[in-house]
Subunit: 451 residues, 4 copies
């Protein structure tokens, strides 16, 4: 219920999904239901006002209530009893009119999810903003591109940051697209017909949705949890996406790579006895949190196969899985945000690493430069030979290229140097950076201030 | 590579994602790349024509090629070598110009996914059409609504079918929304800069996208697999959604419930020695396939944390995971489609089951009918007493209600009978059915004929 | 960190794996390490005594310590600093001598796991004891056996309970076998060589193990987590096993089956407005807890691929995953235990359900009785015909068998009745029950009283 | 059904678990059942001989049979029909006597698993043998130990190999322990009572087990799949364990680390245009296969919650999940075996990497050497200062230590050099290597030649 270890979650998200917060959201539902039913003429306006007031003022022993819920089957049962008693008298019997336990729980969940999306969007936006700045600043910072962790061709660090930025931008777009589909109230009554409200069910549902700023669904969805599944899946994608950034940070921070390290902070990541260490603590915990988040996705998806009009087990599993999933996803997002915000980029080391393999990372570039003169096959053959010679003689490609008569006949020493300059072989990196920046900047800010 | 057991997959989907189909898609990429590069003036038009022709005509030993791929690291390497040899001579060296192995593999995947979405949409549409017909036909077919597998209140079977319909409709909408985000080409060259194409990278990418009828992404996405993660997640949601329908069918078909059974077919689901059995074979295999599909979602999501510019392990895991995921999802969808198409609904049994608990499923309805006369609390108290009496005396609620003087004073025998008639207590079921039908009918047909 | 919703976990297990309990276990490690090092002559005996005393008396702000840990990378860092300060002076610098953060954390985990196994064994034993009693009591309680949820052949409820019993027995055996393999101390120092202890590493490790009542491993296992993976897997098996029992309970409790229901308790599982409901609350939450537990298994297994001498992410994920896994597994076990302990078995309903399909559940038995007289093929043909006639005429197999001249010629009316008596066709159920009981009773009680 | 992409599976394992191999195993069951029933006097000996002969000689169209199975519900139904027809006449009706479809399928699975364990043990043994050789050879090969991918303290490469060896040894032990618990026949008849065999069920079960060289279980286990769950879990642990080795290889092979690379082979892992690359292909595919294997574990565990006497969905999911799980696990094991067998270790690079951080990896060692002279706190303070000076002046710890008067007063230049020699600070690495070797060598060879 409470994924509160701050190492793996974001405290603000943990607060949104705490056991107490859930009860408050349920009271928000009960209050809004009463107001909606008063507007629909089903219960008296003063009764609705009394219920509304009681919901706002309610005090309860959270732990005791959950202990009772574990026996009763839902927290709604003790909560409604308590609310009925608080309202008291004649008015009390109008509490929760026509609704079922699941209506309160699911609508509370939707309200929590809405606030959770806000937090996640904020977190992704912060990541995006940092990555945008890194992209701009490091457009010309040349570093090795690595495939299967082997140096392949030079790239710009700004391009890597732009690709991270793309993850954040698309993550925000994905969450926004989701809102329209999933932020709907739940109101179906005991078996999804709203029979206890006679013919007024749809009208009350729409008023309830209006009261809560949510949409009204076509029909109740007690046992059709595809929307919930979609939310879980989207969070898994978000967690995995920031996990990619964290992976890169951990790898860049390796002692032998040393191209970027997390910023220092008091008490962070160091070791008194191992002074050379700069542990990538935030990225590490982000990776842990992402693993934890993703593990919950199949729990929610596996629970979609629900029985009849209300499930025995699958639905209840959501109560624990979704708070943990939001918490861990937010934790991963937040810690990647921190890691990026303090990232120290070592451009000199990036440049030095490009030379590690005797300049052979520029072999393709040299062959490309020679191709117009010698034809591509001959160019590739010559360069391969020069590379072999560099390896066997322990020198580098620049040296063996200069020593090769055919190459020298085709290219001047300056031409060879230019062909072997990584900064000259970045392809369309600049365009890609521009596009990633433009897409991020095109994101509209969130439409409204948030409570 | 080949999830071909027809029990758990749809043969058409298995064919789309077979090892051979993948190689054909890769050749489709190579042909389109050559045409795009010719249009961009990078390679001669006749060379492009030769490559295109070779791609169409290519013959290869699929098994041998994959054995080689397992050593080389990707199937692109042997395939491009083979294609280069087929094209031959000067033209051969223009094959795959500027691209990397992953470009061919990822674009092939996207082409497979597009065709896979078509199949899944067709399957969901078929489910929707059957459910729409069931909803209409069974608007007034009253049956027990069940929560935690206990009878709760009456519902209409048409409402249950309408809820299934909603799953299909939203599933189709979800897949359609996905297409715009994920059907993009991959073209980045060895490290995602398209350096070998000089400044022409973006232009070639757009032409390539045009040739293939896909979109061009802002930037290459070799190691940013959020789109792939989103596809996996959406398939998991689809599999889980139809799993819900399958669960209901299995439960309805129980000997003791007997409200709906899968249709008979030669050789299907029977038992020579157990003549009373009507095994729900299609729903059973749908459930198995859904489990298998959902198990693959975290594999793909967990692989999002990819290293640098190309992953070592995470990306490759997709090659096996995605074909299996598409196959199993399609299998679940197809078998639920078959189960529904032949579903035999036993309205009489539904009605009879409503009487199983001594009519107590109508207790809430009776209390609602009494409330205007006696006030709700007194009405509920009286009905509870009548229920207890029914249980202890082994009779039913109708009998004990008629025997209760206060109830009789409030309602006539006809009024009691009416209050206890399940058909009178279906709430807004009709409206919900109408809405589910309208949402399904509002889905535009797929925009274009499919190859 | 705190999977404390009592709906999904067992409070005693949650207490064992709370954040505070973990810190206490770490102090237990630090105290035992000091004692071991004193015995090995590495630190003075009085220093060890001072450290030991400080560990027992330590007070700390748990939440603050975990906030610090989230920055520092492990809770060991602030805890050791605090402990060093508490011990004070010269003695303080001997705290944690030679050890690394992970040594304290992993050994604490092993101590928690040992206590966790005790709780799980107790829970499985309780399930076993109840199932043993049910097996004995219901040896002759005939009920329908169901395959694919269709009635197949009669079984005894005692046999079903014996199969549940087998799950509990094997679950206990599995946990016991595990103890010997996984309950080992962790002591490796900063990189797994125990270099800071010079040549004394193995000796200190053995003394430490002795102090804690654990085994000493061949070598430190900082990044080789197969033992942890095995624990996670075993818990997943345990959760799945009791999930099978919970599934059966939910299905037996269906209104239309009604063969067994969870016992009533104040506030449990009822509904004021739906008096006929007897919600299987404990089984429902057991199923939810089992789903949650199983979802954590691949998180732990996926984290086995750890980097070098200490992982960045995979190890840390265990810190949240294992407490939740133990908690949810214990929750599933505990709630199945409660469900079984109060189970109300309705033998009359079991018997009545056997008649639901017109006695056709006995078709195989009748054919078997006829076979000696008519040959098996002819016997099967005749019975199949009688079944068809029973279905088409709306009567039952007993009736149509009596009406069939060939059957009547082979068997007397009493012979037919005997052949159609479910109690006569239980095969080896009795033997199986005896064996399940014997295996359970053969389990030695736990060897020692537990602290 | 056929996880045959050789990139992710071992061909020998794929063959063991192919659709055809499964049918052959089922025939093995049918033949053994007939022989057992003849020995028990239930069917005539010549009939058993005829069935046995027909099982050996059977020919069938595998694909057609599985298409039929997908409709019928199990492959047993068409297979038994075909076998009955092959045997023919009177003898034919004794085929499959008393058994149910699941008996044949589950026993066939157990036979496949037994052979699968053999293959996995062989693979783990090969890994162990290579690691044992590496441990011996590299006892004194000093390299950086890395925690959170940061250099921490020196270790020996032989110790790393010894830890890998420990994974292989424990993996073999775990599989061996498993055999005794899970290699049991399945024989229960239609509902687990063996009613059709009258009182002979247990006797036939024991004879059947004897015929097949398996154990007889206490009672049938149609819906109690804890043994299968345990197998899945063990395979997940094995896959994760070798994934750890693969992770290390990928990381060691990085261009910037270069301490170990996979051996070259024709067509393997190179790149014509990127000559500097030495892609760790085998480790990469091992990691992919391990991810795929682990993803299947929760599918099998989640399916443990089976319904009544035979599940609808959960059991069937095993049919696809287990072959894939065995295949992917074997693939991971096999490819790690290949990667290790050809591993090229670069001891010079390991040594050079130790110097990367200015010798600060030896800070703890220097402080330990100074402690007897200066007290530990003062020693640590001095070393920390020397480290800071080394960083700020761009020199190394050796230099600043020699320049520090207090340090020089405590240790001679030779003493300082010795303290800073990584080879002098390997702690108990030697002992650990010895122990890992001893544990591996203590493994008894497999008890019997395998068919």
């Amino acid at each position: 219920m409470e994924p509160v270890d701050p190492a793996f979650t974001a405290p603000a998200m943990a607060a949104l999904f705490s056991g107490e917060a859930r009860l408050r959201r349920m009271l928000e539902f009960e209050a809004a239901l009463a107001r909606a039913e008063a507007r629909a003429g089903i219960i008296p306006a003063d009764v609705a006002a009394a219920i509304d007031a009681a919901c706002r003022a309610a005090r309860f022993d959270v732990a005791a209530l959950y202990r009772e819920a574990a026996v009763a089957g839902t927290p709604t049962i003790p909560l409604v009893r308590l609310l009925t008693a608080t309202v008291g008298g004649d008015a009390g019997r109008f509490v929760h009119r026509g609704a079922t336990s699941q209506d309160a729980l699911d609508t509370a969940l939707v309200l929590q999810m809405r606030a959770g999306f806000d937090l996640l969007e904020d977190g992704l936006f912060a990541i995006g903003a940092t990555c945008a700045a890194l992209s701009e600043r490091h457009r010309r910072t040349v570093m090795p591109g690595r495939t299967l962790l082997q140096q392949a061709l030079p790239i710009a660090f700004g391009l890597k940051a732009a690709r991270w930025l793309g993850l954040a931008t698309r993550g925000m777009e994905r969450l926004r697209a989701l809102r329209g589909r999933v932020l709907v109230v739940q109101l179906g009554g005991a078996a999804g017909t709203l029979a206890a409200l006679g013919a007024d069910g749809p009208r009350v549902t729409e008023l309830l949705a209006e009261e809560l700023g949510l949409a009204a669904p076509d029909l109740p969805w007690h046992a059709e949890r595809d929307r919930v599944g979609e939310v879980a899946a989207a969070l898994g994608v978000a967690a995995g996406s920031v996990g990619k950034i964290a992976t890169d940070i951990v790898l860049l921070a390796q002692t032998e790579v040393g191209e970027a390290t997390e910023g220092v902070a008091p008490g962070k990541g160091g070791s008194s006895t191992l002074p050379q260490k700069r542990n990538p603590i935030d990225a590490t915990f982000a990776l842990a949190a992402a693993r934890l988040a993703i593990g919950l996705v199949p729990v929610v998806l596996g629970a979609l196969a629900q029985e009849h009009e209300r499930a025995a087990g699958g639905w209840q599993a959501e109560w624990a899985a979704l708070p943990a999933l939001f918490g861990h996803t937010a934790g991963a997002v937040a810690r990647v945000g921190v890691a990026l915000a303090g990232l120290e980029v070592d451009a000199a080391r990036m440049s030095a690493n490009l030379d590690l393999a005797g300049g052979m990372i520029m072999a393709e570039a040299l062959a490309t430069a020679l191709a117009p003169h010698l034809g591509r096959p001959e160019a590739q053959r010559l360069v391969a030979t020069a590379c072999e010679r560099a390896v066997s003689s322990g020198t580098d490609l620049h040296r063996t290229a200069l020593d090769d008569e055919t190459i020298r006949a085709a290219l001047s020493p300056e031409g060879i140097a230019r062909a072997l300059d990584p900064a000259s072989y970045l392809g369309s990196a600049d365009t890609y950076i521009d596009r990633a920046l433009a897409a991020f900047r095109a994101l509209q800010p969130s439409p409204a201030p948030r409570p």
